[in-house]
Amino acid sequence: MGVTHSLETRKQHIGETAMERIERVGAAAHRIRHHALNMGEVQGQGYVGQALGAADMLAVAYADQLRYRANDPEWAGRDRFLLSTGHYAIGHYAALAEAGIIPVEELESYGSDDSRLPMSGMSTYTPGMEISGGSLGHGLAIAVGIALGLRHQGSSARVYNFLSDGELDEGSTWEAAMGAHHHQLGNLTAMVDINALQADGKTDTVLRTEPVTDKWEAFGWYAQRVDGNDVGALLAAFDNAAAQAAAVGRPSVVLCDTKVGRGVPLLEEREKAHFMRIEEHEWQLCRQQLTAGFNGKAQR
């Protein structure tokens, strides 16, 4: 039942230059950040820092790499994007809005009663949300089963699992890493947000996970480590991963070093916290800084 690539569903544009592609994806990342700030303001606080840090990874996924049909999120041939870090839902919802899977106007319901967009992402609530994350260390194990199940049924769809460096503390992540290599899941790509921060503080003070690249390589994965806030570097790494994707082959991991609060200097410089407090008057300032930074970069 092989599924062919469709240019309608894969957003990579024919004929665009490498620079145009970077600009297109960078603009998507900018809009994702903007959405995340707006959602954060609704709640008054939240995982805005993580969403800003991961926006480039999410943009590369949804604006460039994934095959999906915005008007048919359950399309059988879609690539699966599994958000393991449920609290990153704020960023994921922004990406789903950017992808056209949920309406932008709906984002303002984030975290409200009866909303389809709960604070921690759940598959039963939100179109395009493949799994219920939040209990960390689950995503990659589920991804192994989906990748095996798709391959077993002859699908060429790929599976992407977004996880965080904090989740590397969980033994289940490494059970799954072994399983993916054992079963030669060349249709599976993991993307790890290494923001060096977890609930109780900096990762290297909570539980040292480095050397991260060596660990994944030792587990048999094709590992690349990039600046996760450099859209060009991310695109190159995901292209590399896609180029060697196969039904039977090595699973890929893209290890992305990101900066919490990226794009908003006020937040980049603030003491890093898992759950960031932002004062009421600061949201507009955040948006101004984000826009100014983006425009400044665009002019350069």
Binding site: S123, L140, L148, G149, H152, E175
Partner: protein
């Protein structure tokens, strides 16, 4: 100086393969063969295990359908996470391990990846209750207590090979997640002597009786039937109600039998905490029956290691102990 002749001590290893009585009619690996049969009819069925294929009778399926069998290694969290993933793609996985690992070790994965999205994943747990003499590391004496609180999960405690053979296709056909307390290896064949068929979610009256009513599940239904026979010699007439589906529980069938003056006894291969006894007790209280119920169950303790006949006698699961308890209750 003692002149007592000591009985030879039984060996743990003698009872690893089966709890069948000597000479009892058995079927070999009924789960494995039933899964093969179900898979022949339903191409969605796949089999997974966590390095316990040979010990959960999954090896029968693996041999028949090597391309539909997936070895996940000694990694139970991966086993359940991956099983959820398979189900997300439309397949119907049966995932086997020991009950202790299913209930204790990978609970979060069964709960959040499988039960919360209500996926058709069928968990198969071997060595439920006291069916091994290896001690608490292997004896899942509280698995039903752990699982009964999990929404969406159907819990099945089969009596014998007949129950297992008939349950497997029904578990595959039911939409949500299930947990089967597996009896493996040479499994007694008991219920073919009765006018009985397994129906998911239903309790069945196996025999009538005027003095006592037994409500039992799992292998204790076999013991209940044997005890009923033994009690007949004492002029005690015993009814037996088999309730293999612990959740959702067929309260109406069971309560109809309990709403009499007969002595009510529950029998289960599980801790007295959180299993069949408390399921029945809560149904009785909820219905306002005001009925006393006597439990035959494992004590709320970590149990000893040893040979199964020794342990079943020690902890009250043997026919002899059941008979003694009933006679004492009847005064």
């Amino acid at each position: 100086m003692s002149t007592t002749v000591k009985a030879p001590k039984l060996k743990t290893s003698a009872m690893i393969a089966s709890f069948a009585d000597p000479g009892q009619k058995t079927s070999s690996a009924p789960f494995g063969h039933a899964l093969v049969k179900a898979a022949e009819a339903d191409p969605r069925i796949v089999g997974l295990t966590a390095d316990l294929g040979k010990y959960t009778d999954m090896h029968i399926f693996a041999k028949a359908f090597p391309e539909r069998f997936f070895q996940m290694g000694m990694a139970e969290q991966l086993l359940f996470g991956a099983a959820a993933g398979f189900a997300e793609t439309g397949l119907v996985p049966f995932a086997s391990t020991y009950s202790v690992f299913a209930a204790r070790r990978a609970y979060d994965f069964l709960c959040l990846d499988i039960a919360e999205p209500n996926l058709n994943v069928n968990i198969v747990g071997a060595l439920p209750g006291l069916t091994t003499g290896y001690g608490p590391s292997h004896q899942a004496t509280e698995d039903m207590a752990i699982f009964r609180g999990m929404p969406n999960l159907t819990i099945v405690d089969p009596c014998d090979s007949v129950d297992i053979e008939q349950a497997v296709p029904q578990l595959a056909a039911s939409d949500g997640p299930t947990y089967l307390r597996l009896l493996r290896g040479n499994v007694p064949r008991v219920l073919d002597e009765y006018d009985y068929t397994f129906e998911l979610g239903r309790a069945k009256v196996l025999r009538g009786g005027n003095d006592v009513v037994f409500v039992s599940s799992g292998l204790m239904t076999m013991r209940a039937l044997q005890a009923a026979e033994a009690l007949a010699a004492h002029k005690v007439d015993v009814a037996v109600v088999h309730a293999p589906t612990i959740k959702p529980f067929d309260a109406s069938t069971v309560l109809a039998e309990l709403n009499t003056d007969r002595l009510a006894v529950t029998l289960e291969n599980h801790s007295v905490v959180g299993g069949l006894f408390e399921t029945v007790a809560s149904a009785v209280v909820t219905a306002g029956l005001g009925k006393r119920v006597v439990p035959v169950a494992l004590p709320d303790e970590f149990l000893d290691a040893g040979a199964l006949p020794t342990l079943h006698e020690r902890y009250g699961l043997s026919v002899q102990q059941i008979v003694a308890k009933v006679l004492a209750e009847l005064g």
